[in-house]
Symmetry: C4
């Protein structure tokens, strides 16, 4: 029952990737995790299947180490990145990988996205970080899992909170975003693309565009996410 | 009755924000004011409600100081900016705040939009001005109201007429536009985005793009807005 | 009868301006001329009327000097530019004025569009020229007519053939395009926007992008327009 | 029968060019070749016919030297480029020529598209190459055929495999892409435009954007195309 509801949510998130234009062709995938049962269950998109043809029955169920438990199709080729992130970031419940155009362009330029405005600060508490490139050995010894490793290494090195910074750029590759569930993950992937577009144009207009002052950045982040959040209606 | 008609106009303006793509997600809001009664009444979008789901009954009515008079939902978190502008600029009857992409990129780049062409001059008599950033104290002591204060301070410092210059960029944030009513405000927000796109590309093509000569700028502004306006059909 | 057919064609061209997205709001207009009767008749869009609401009955008919012969609405405020061009360029039968985004950005940057590729050369034999800005006196003594004058002056100064170069950028304003009739004029306005987009990106990628070699440029222009044209089906 | 199936595939590929927005107006064409019969048969779009009006009966059938065998319409003016590529690259079965906007902008800037990311590496094993410009003599002595010659010369000079590098930019002109059939060719033309957009933005963000490390590039290319490909479902 819970698994069925997770399947629905992951299906919806994968469809949203396509509907919002975040991943041309089949360059993207969403997953979700159910953590509270006897063993955590991951639900993920199968590899290379068109978003429009996808059904809940096509989704693949694995354990948190990527061992397939249910499903006849091969899981997304990015599965090992997803499961590594679920193991390293116990706070998160959904992951979305896209090749959205502007975020991917920043990843290819090997530049983190600076926090230039309040739109950015409402969702990401600071820059959108950039990983190191994978070494030849990391590529050879488990490319997909090591993609997760370089993400986690970056967050540890900077002492970043994956809830406050719900996404990353993998150098020379593309973005990953996450959230407390798959629905929030795709929302963050969409906002990430939006702020990538804004920042692209701001730095072209003014190459010395400066980070938002810390007092504004923190105010905006806290008004949406802090204990005294004032945005939206009471739930 | 008059209030009902204002509600309809403010609803329409909020829907236009979405329809014209000026504010992804719910990053935008429109308000209108009825000034001629015993006390001025402000009608504004509620916070965080989707544009498509919005009805006139959802709109919030306040006095000119932002005291809620009607409505069960929380007003837009930007309410205090709107009411401050209504108090400071008695000529205006509607305000629209968006996060439209190119205008926001200019705001993040901390650059006013120069008046490079006649399209700009038809609507804005001179550059689209840029505010100062808010100080830490201003953020702490009433961020939203002080967003209005930095706008007004900028108009006073340059002796700008809010009718001739119907919009502004808040540094590191996004644009506000206004007009004699909510309908005209959303039209100005849309034109502002359009001229932000044109100017973005012009300055990339030619970083030393120069302001339109004053004689052309004034001619264009006056033919639409002056006492001898020649554009459009007689009303 | 002939006038009715011209009205239909001019209506269609005005609708095409909107359909192809060449003129946001009502920033654009199309006209056509019938030259073979006892006196030339010009049909032009009325001022400030929405493209979707336009009917053939709304169009305004004038003589070649802009004297209104038929119609109850005010003609486009750009009428005097159109009629001046019809008088100066007897080869042309239709004119389209737009504020299409990339062509307007080049006009605002005060740069002609260089002929960087074969797509450009198929339609424009050389750069898309740029006028001089209007002087204060020209603005004061007939702004709209003098907009036509600076276009004609530019073509004379460079000895350009308006059939081989079917469009121009008015400095700090926007493009005008033309053709043997209103249908071809709107096609040229659309191609002009397309090549403006291409050239914008090429010069950003490579600021020293060079004009297409003359032997390629001439080959492409002649294969579509020369006496031995090989493109398309025989008519 | 086989020819009929090839006609269907070539029709579909031409329609896909339009549907994906790869060739405004009629600036593009697709062809396919049937190689296994007694003589190779090429099916190609007729010249200057609108994609939406196109039927299988309109397509032109030629031999591998471009001699017309079936069809009443003139073949695409680019026929000689297609047939030369079919003769030079026996591995390929379909060719698509577009004027897609970003790939054409790179061609006009006379710059190959560097391999900056894994999206690129999944489809193109290295840069998208750029031809030399055609000399005046080459233009005069068979412009269209010589367009094919400069492509082939570029692949020979760099010892490129047309299967691993399924496309090219013709300097000052536009891209050609190909594949094992017309369907794959249009897919490659679409991906080429996508990576042209990404790379455009990456190099603007960081003019010294570096090629993806060879170990990542090769890993990505091989996981989709190598003998141990792991992407997608087993066929």
């Amino acid at each position: 029952m819970l698994l069925e509801s997770l399947r629905e949510q992951v299906l919806k998130a994968n469809q949203e990737i396509a509907r919002r234009g975040l991943a041309p062709h089949t360059f993207g995938n969403a997953s979700g995790i159910h953590r509270s049962g006897s063993q955590p269950l991951v639900v993920i998109k199968p590899s290379g299947v068109d978003y429009n043809a996808l059904t809940t029955a096509d989704l693949v169920v694995t354990d948190i180490n990527g061992k397939i438990l249910e499903g006849t199709l091969k899981p997304s080729s990015d599965l090992d990145t997803h499961t590594l992130l679920y193991r390293a970031f116990p706070q998160i419940g959904g992951i979305v990988h896209t090749h959205s155009e502007f975020a991917t362009s920043w990843a290819q330029a090997c530049k983190p996205i600076p926090c230039l405005g309040t739109t950015h600060a409402d969702y990401f508490h600071g820059s959108v970080p950039l990983t190191e490139p994978l070494t030849a050995e990391e590529v050879a010894s488990g490319y997909v899992r090591n993609t997760g490793e370089v993400i986690v290494r970056r967050f540890k090195a900077e002492n970043l909170d994956p809830i406050a910074v719900p996404g990353v750029l993998v150098a020379g590759h593309a973005p990953f975003a996450w959230g407390k569930n798959a629905h929030e993950a795709v929302e963050h992937a969409d906002v990430l693309e939006y702020i990538a577009r804004l920042a692209f144009r701001s730095v072209l207009l003014n190459p010395s565009s400066a980070d938002l002052p810390v007092h504004v950045r923190d105010h905006h982040y806290m008004r949406k996410h802090g204990p005294k959040a004032t945005y939206g209606q009471k739930r």
